[in-house]
């Protein structure tokens, strides 16, 4: 069967790609567009390592077909830093040592960005539940939660 032609927006730029209809958005990002910052940890929506934002909504790229991206706007980890400036969340993750191996980090950052866009002043509990779909096996989550809370405070101008 002919591959599907999809026109979409990735990190603000218009993007066209061809894909098999069975390919997930994650497959397309990684294998077709070579945006390998989104990781495959489970391919079943259980680990959050492939978190991306689609039309402002946090989703797992492994649970969306590439063809479903038609006409939508996708944000990935590769678009998080602006030019040569890191996003405050990225800076805070570094300062707080909120990563060890770093493979879950892109997913956590995208998820945390989505949280702070909706809720600039989350409680620790809100952060923990929002990020419950992002698994981290290294850190025990402590420093990640602290980094998100600290970034929120900084972004609020605190």
């Amino acid at each position: 069967m002919a591959r599907a032609h999809v026109i979409t927006t990735v990190n603000g730029d218009p993007v066209e790609f061809l894909c098999d209809t069975e390919q997930t958005l994650l497959d397309v990002l990684r294998d077709e567009l070579h945006l390998t910052g989104s990781k495959e940890g489970c391919a079943s929506g259980d680990c959050g390592a492939c978190s991306v934002i689609v039309d402002g909504r946090l989703v797992c790229a492994c649970l969306m077909l590439g063809v479903e991206a038609q006409g939508h706007s996708i944000e990935t980890i590769e678009g998080m830093a602006g030019g040569d400036r890191l996003h405050p969340l990225q800076t805070k993750f570094l300062e707080h040592a909120a990563l060890q191996c770093g493979v879950c980090t892109p997913g956590f950052l995208v998820a945390a960005k989505s949280l702070l866009e909706r809720n600039p002043d989350p409680t620790e509990t809100e952060v923990r539940y929002w990020l419950a779909g992002n698994l981290c096996r290294c850190t025990g989550y402590d420093k990640i939660v602290r980094a998100v809370l600290d970034a929120a405070q900084e972004m609020r101008g605190g």
Partner: protein
């Protein structure tokens, strides 16, 4: 695999009943894509209903809440009116999976995946919700409890799909609640789920109650005797005990990786009690 994203109900019905390969309906895809990936299903046609307006919107019709089958948990949770009318249904939708899953998973998908452990189904059954089913012969209404006939099995005919759910305006003094038990705080499939919808009169006496249970039988069950045990009472401890006995009598669970039959039966009673107490509190506040 052919992928289609029709923009009207009629077009979707045509695709699904078009004499070609039997199609699978794609809403949020949070179950469908996992099954595709695992090779559990190998559909030749996938019909995405997210571009159909009726499947994607939440609206009120004559006081009735109509929720599109492809409306996501997150969207329902952000709908203030839905939350005030049917807090139990909304909380059940918000319990499905992670934030990421919330951004995709839908009521229609949760029902049509036909898992006995689906979170929204006990809440929808307790709320006496009905489905708007579109098909080659037009639109028909089906009570939610009649849609699933067994694990992975639906009563829908060829070419039929669920467009939306209807939730009647709750009468005064009514409220619903949903609780589920999972081993962790998030990310698990319900080991047991309990939805309770009840009405209290001005004196606080229960005039109607529906109790629905998830993950304790091959399909979500409406435990009619459990509801009946509350009717006519003030939902006091002895009424709760009678309801728990009826809940446990209605359970026909299995042992599996997520819990033992014994455990599920026991915890179904615990959750039904807790959900009934929440519903009763909400009902009193609603009066």
């Amino acid at each position: 695999m052919q992928y289609e994203a029709p923009e009207s109900v009629e077009a979707a019905v045509r695709l699904l009943s078009g004499g070609g390969p039997r199609g699978r309906v794609l809403a949020g895809g949070t179950d469908l894509l996992v099954q595709l990936r695992a090779g559990v299903i190998t559909p030749q046609l996938v019909v995405d209903i997210k571009r159909i307006r009726e499947s994607r919107e939440i609206r009120e019709e004559d006081g009735m809440l109509v929720v599109g089958a492809a409306v996501t948990g997150a969207e329902l949770g952000e709908h203030a009116r839905a939350k005030s009318m049917w807090p139990g249904v909304v909380e059940s939708a918000e319990l499905i999976g992670s934030t990421q899953i919330q951004g995709r998973a839908s009521l229609g998908g949760n029902l049509c995946n036909a898992s006995p452990a689906a979170d929204t189904v006990p809440a929808l059954v307790a709320a006496a919700a009905e489905c708007r089913v579109a098909g080659p012969n037009g639109m028909r209404r089906v009570p939610v409890e009649d849609v699933c006939t067994g694990p992975g099995q639906l009563s829908l005919g060829d070419g039929e799909f669920i467009v939306a759910f209807e939730l009647a305006a709750p009468p005064p003094g009514s409220a619903d609640a949903y609780l589920r038990f999972i081993p962790r705080t998030e990310m698990d499939i319900a080991v047991v789920g309990a939805g309770v919808n009840l009405s209290l009169d001005e004196s606080g006496r229960c005039t109607a109650a529906r109790v629905a249970l998830g993950a304790v039988a091959p399909t979500v069950i409406l435990a009619e005797e459990a509801g009946a045990a509350l009717v006519g009472t003030e939902c006091d401890d002895s009424a709760m005990e009678a309801m728990v006995a009826a809940v446990r009598a209605a359970c026909r669970p299995i042992d599996d990786k997520r819990g033992t039959a014994e455990y599920r039966t026991k915890v179904a009673g615990v959750l039904a009690t807790r959900a009934a107490r929440i519903a009763a509190t909400r009902a009193r506040e609603a009066r």
